[in-house]
Structure formats: structure tokens, C-alpha cells
């Protein structure tokens, strides 16, 4: 019998994940299509060359301009726009990150975005509208700890969503489910397989994506009442994938908690 004790570093990582994931649920749920089309305000007019020739601060990064333009070109082949990289340039320069480290971060970001675009394309889920906005949100989840296999499995679960005809709402649902699972995982660490089961169950469930965030509260309630998180996860997944609503899931958890 092997018993591994979770390490403090995992708790720290979980805390950081929660720091990103919990606010992200709200953002993903509240974002309207109009807002989502333009995740960085006014970004549509931003180009790499315009940024580098802009304010004095950006000129300090002139040494990496050519390589960043090449990254933007590669990103364009994936169907994504260079404003995604401009956004990271702005963020990096504000934090006064050295040019070489910023370039490394942009390369990582480009790889993530290309992976996201590939996974969406392979499943016919690349959205016609707002592709940049959704890719940016997905990238944020990857930075918070999402793994490629988990993203792919959750995208596959959209095959059961007969009511949603276009890729955009399907991908929005996937992203909200993933951020919900990450937020839950941050407080109540789950096995990778359990987390994957939870996200796919949420995607294929009857629960409106605007209410996915309530699962974090449901977990806290059941956990504070003495239920183990893996048990809560398996019950929520079982009932959500069986078509249960939030009311039904609450009822099922409540009746398993004995009140004295």
C-alpha cells in the first residue's frame, strides 16, 4: 500500500490556480459576445509594428521586434491575430520584464495558442467569431494549470450538445466548465481523472454555464459538512452527466449529509 502525502508546494500551486480561476469563472460567464470579440479594449487596431514604434517604453524592446513579428506570422497561420501577442507585450513591458525573458514568454504563449487552435480545428470547433478572445481565455487556463489532454477531452464532450449549433457557445461552455473545475481543484485538490470527469460532466449537463460557478459553493458546503471531495466530485459528475439540474444535485448531496 502506497500512501503519498500531498506536498506544501501543491497547496501553493492550488492557491495560485484559484487566484486565477475563481475570478475567471465570473469573467467567462459575464462576457457578452461583443465584449468577447475584443478582449483587450481597442486591441483590434494594435499591431506588433505599431506597438514597437509607439511609446518610448516599447522601443526598449526593439531587439526582439523581428522575432516577435515572426511569432505573430506563425500565429496568423493558426487563424489567430497578432493582437494576442501585443497584449502580452503590453503586460510584459509594464512589468519591466527584460527583453529576452519577454521573448521567451511570448514563444510559450504562441505555442499554447497554436495548440489551442489546433485542438479546436481538429474538432471543427474553431469559432468564426471571437476566436482571439476565446483563445486568450483558454491560454489563461493553460497558464493556471490546465493540461492539453484535459482540454481535448472536454472539447470532445461538446459532441453531446445537440442544442448548440455553432462552435462559439460550445467553446464558451467548455472554458467555463474548465475554469470551474480549476477553481474547485484549487480549494479541494482532486485527482486529474476526477477533474476530467467533472469537466466533461458539466459540459454535457443541463446546467446553464452561467451557473457552473455555483458548483464551487456546493463543494464548499458539502465539504464543510464532512463529505470527502472525491466523493462530492463523483456524485456531482454522476448526476450532472445523468441530466440533473443544480436543484437535483443539491438535493442529492443534502440527503447524503446526515443532520443530527
Amino acid at each position: 500500500m502506497i500512501i503519498t502525502r500531498s506536498r506544501p508546494a501543491q497547496h501553493a500551486s492550488a492557491f495560485l490556480t484559484g487566484f486565477i480561476a475563481i475570478p475567471l469563472i465570473g469573467f467567462l460567464c459575464l462576457a457578452t459576445p461583443a465584449q468577447a470579440q475584443n478582449p483587450a479594449t481597442g486591441m483590434a487596431k494594435k499591431t506588433i509594428s505599431a506597438w514597437f514604434s509607439g511609446m518610448e517604453e516599447s522601443r526598449k524592446y526593439g531587439s526582439i521586434k523581428n522575432e516577435v513579428e515572426l511569432l505573430a506570422l506563425n500565429l496568423g497561420f493558426s487563424g489567430l491575430g497578432e493582437p494576442l501577442l501585443v497584449d502580452r507585450l503590453v503586460e510584459g513591458s509594464k512589468k519591466r520584464i527584460p527583453a529576452d525573458k519577454l521573448l521567451a514568454a511570448l514563444k510559450d504563449e504562441t505555442r499554447r495558442l497554436q495548440t489551442i487552435a489546433r485542438l479546436l480545428n481538429e474538432r471543427g470547433l474553431f469559432p468564426v467569431e471571437n476566436a482571439d478572445g476565446l483563445a486568450a481565455e483558454a491560454s489563461l487556463l493553460f497558464r493556471a494549470g490546465l493540461e492539453e489532454g484535459e482540454f481535448a477531452a472536454t472539447l470532445d464532450a461538446t459532441a453531446e450538445l445537440a442544442d448548440l449549433k455553432t462552435p462559439l457557445p460550445k467553446v464558451q461552455r467548455v472554458l467555463t466548465a474548465l475554469s470551474t473545475a480549476l477553481a474547485i481543484n484549487a480549494r479541494f485538490p482532486l485527482e486529474a481523472e476526477d477533474r476530467r470527469t467533472l469537466t466533461t460532466a458539466l459540459v454535457s449537463s443541463r446546467i446553464p454555464r452561467e451557473r457552473f460557478g455555483s458548483m464551487v459553493s456546493l463543494f464548499a458546503r458539502a465539504k464543510a459538512s464532512g463529505m470527502a471531495q472525491s466523493r462530492i466530485c463523483s456524485l456531482v459528475s454522476e448526476y450532472a452527466s445523468s441530466g440533473a439540474t443544480l436543484e437535483r444535485i443539491e438535493r442529492e448531496l443534502e440527503r447524503r449529509i446526515r443532520t443530527p
Binding site: T4, F188, S230, L246, E247, R251, R258
Partner: protein, 334 residues
């Protein structure tokens, strides 16, 4: 195959067995939970004590039904004379109880029927002396309930008849039913309902009670949840008079970081029309997760286990019984 005369034909039983197996093992999901806890507790009424409890529960999911059983037992050893400067003895008082339940429910479809059976036994409570405890008899209670829940996309409606019984001088038999609904309004689950119960006491008295009420649960999207409910309870007593009471309950739950869990609850009973508080209970528990144990046996398709070591600290106050505080160590596996 030949059958000897007088022996039962096994085919029907075997067929039923196969159907049950297919119903309950189809998904392969089950959930065995075991927990045990022990620690000191102090109450204003009974002084210091040592509490130990253990619980076990298991559940089987099929494609159509799920079945669940649970058992729980607790024991309290009181040290009645443990006031400063006195000698403590461990045999001054004992209180124990055991609870068991079994449930069957439907997993899918708009209607979920749940049959629940439960029973409880309590040893005599050591209120005044050891001898009083020995002379008393245990209390038994038992009950059954059936839930018809219609779940639609936007709301659910439930009808839950029940029958319960408790032994003892103040024992009673209750036949009741609750008609309730639940619907989602933004982050709130709103729960109107009405409960009707007929109760007959061991002394032959009868009463009828009706309680319309309204409750809600708030699930805001971060690790916090609040529930509250209230209503009006009207009881028709044997002499033809009525009594009215306003019950109020609220509870909240929160997770702080990855290791601290908090829950608190307040219950009030306010007699009308004088607005006199006739019952009040407040309780809170802060539980610290000291360690988590990873999955055992994962990766080979075999059963897996995980566990936690917790330190629950609780405090409660009761208008009649005073306060109680305790701390313990709890280990739980699932």
C-alpha cells in the same frame, strides 16, 4: 438440470438476482466512506467528557437505480466531578447512540423515487447520576420515507410522505408529508413548501401540525454558501386550542484556503403572538485539514482510496442545555 422435490426453483430468484446485478453494477461507481474521530468535549451541563464516533457508508450506482446504506455510532464518557481540585473518574457516565439507514433512489428520468428506512438507538442520558442512567431504558426511534421528486429543467416539485416513531415516556408516532418546490433564481435556489403532520403521543394525545414555509440557498460562485428558511407552524392540540410558532433556521458554510472549513448554524423557535423565544440553538465548527493521503491502487483499474486527517473544533450553545465545546482528531477514507 433436475430439481429435488420440495427444493425451491432457483430460476426466478436467479433472474431477479441478475437483473439487480445489472441495475446496480452497470456504471461501476460505488462509494465506500469510513471515518473515525475522538477527542475531549466539555459542556456546561455535564462537564468534561471524551467522545468517540465512527461512521461507514457505501453506495452502489447502476444505470437506473442507486442504493446506499450508512451506519454511525458515537459514545461519550463523562467525567462528572472533573472540576478543579477534585478527582476525576472515567466511569461516572456514559452516553451512546447508533444510527443506521438504507436508501434506494432512481438515477435518471424526471421522477426520482426514494425509499428511505432508518433506525436509531440512544442509551440513557446521564443527566443527574450514574444510578439514574442505569435505571433508565434506551430510546429507540425508527422511520421510513418516500420521495417523489419531479425534476424539470427550470424547477423541481417534491412530495415526501414519512412515518416515524420514537419510544419512551415522551414517545410519539408521526405521520407526515411535505410538499415542496425548488427553482433557481440567479444564484439562489428558492424553496417554498408546506409540511403537514399528524402526531400521536404515547400518552394518547393527538395533534395536527401544518407548517407553510419558504427557504433559500445561495451559491454565489466562490467557496461560500448560505441557507435559511422560515415559516409558520400552527399546531392543533387535543383540547381544541391552537399554538403558533415561527421557526427560523440559517446556516453557512465556507472554505478558507485549502485547509480550513467553517460551518455555522442558528435555529430559533419563536412562540406567537408573544414573540417569546422558546428554543434557540447556535453551533459552529472550524475544521482544519492536517493532511491528505493520495490514491492507493490507482492506475490499474482497481479500487482506489484517498483519505484525510482533520482537526474539527466545535462550539455550540443551547437555550436549555447551555454550551458545549470540543476538539478532536478525525481520520476519513473514501
Amino acid at each position: 438440470m433436475t430439481y429435488t422435490q420440495g427444493a425451491a426453483n432457483p430460476r426466478p430468484a436467479y433472474t431477479i438476482f441478475l437483473i439487480l446485478v445489472s441495475l446496480f453494477t452497470a456504471s461501476g461507481l460505488s462509494g465506500l466512506e469510513i471515518s473515525a474521530a475522538a477527542g475531549p468535549i466539555w459542556s456546561s451541563e455535564s462537564g468534561p467528557a471524551l467522545e468517540a464516533r465512527a461512521a461507514v457508508g457505501d453506495e452502489f450506482f447502476g444505470k437506473v437505480f442507486s442504493a446506499r446504506y450508512a451506519g454511525e455510532g458515537s459514545a461519550l464518557w463523562y467525567f462528572e466531578d472533573a472540576t478543579p481540585g477534585t478527582t476525576t473518574t472515567a466511569s461516572d457516565g456514559f452516553f451512546g447512540d447508533a444510527f443506521a439507514s438504507a436508501e434506494l433512489s432512481a438515477l435518471t428520468g424526471p421522477v426520482s423515487n426514494l425509499l428511505k428506512l432508518y433506525g436509531n438507538i440512544e442509551s440513557p442520558y446521564p443527566t443527574s447520576s450514574v444510578q439514574a442512567a442505569i435505571d433508565s431504558v434506551p430510546l429507540y426511534s425508527a422511520g421510513s420515507g418516500l420521495a417523489f421528486v419531479f425534476n424539470s429543467f427550470d424547477f423541481s416539485v417534491s412530495f415526501e410522505p414519512r412515518l416515524s416513531w420514537q419510544s419512551g415516556e415522551n414517545g410519539w408516532t408521526e405521520l407526515g408529508a411535505e410538499l415542496g418546490a425548488s427553482f433557481l433564481a440567479v444564484e439562489f435556489l428558492i424553496k417554498p413548501g408546506v409540511d403537514l403532520a399528524w402526531m400521536k403521543g404515547e400518552d394518547g394525545s393527538e395533534s395536527l401540525r401544518v407548517r407553510p414555509g419558504l427557504g433559500f440557498s445561495w451559491y454565489p460562485g466562490f467557496p461560500f454558501s448560505v441557507s435559511a428558511d422560515s415559516g409558520l407552524t400552527r399546531t392543533w392540540l387535543p383540547d381544541g386550542t391552537t399554538s403558533d410558532e415561527l421557526p427560523f433556521r440559517t446556516s453557512f458554510y465556507a472554505a478558507l484556503g485549502t485547509s480550513i472549513l467553517v460551518k455555522a448554524a442558528v435555529e430559533l423557535g419563536i412562540a406567537l403572538p408573544d414573540a417569546e423565544v422558546v428554543s434557540a440553538i447556535g453551533s459552529t465548527e472550524v475544521s482544519f485539514t492536517l493532511g491528505r493521503f493520495g490514491r492507493v491502487g490507482a492506475g490499474d483499474g482497481e479500487s482506489t482510496w484517498s483519505g484525510e486527517l482533520r482537526l474539527p473544533c466545535h462550539f455550540s450553545w443551547d437555550l436549555d442545555d447551555g454550551w458545549s465545546a470540543g476538539v478532536g482528531l478525525e481520520v476519513a477514507f473514501d
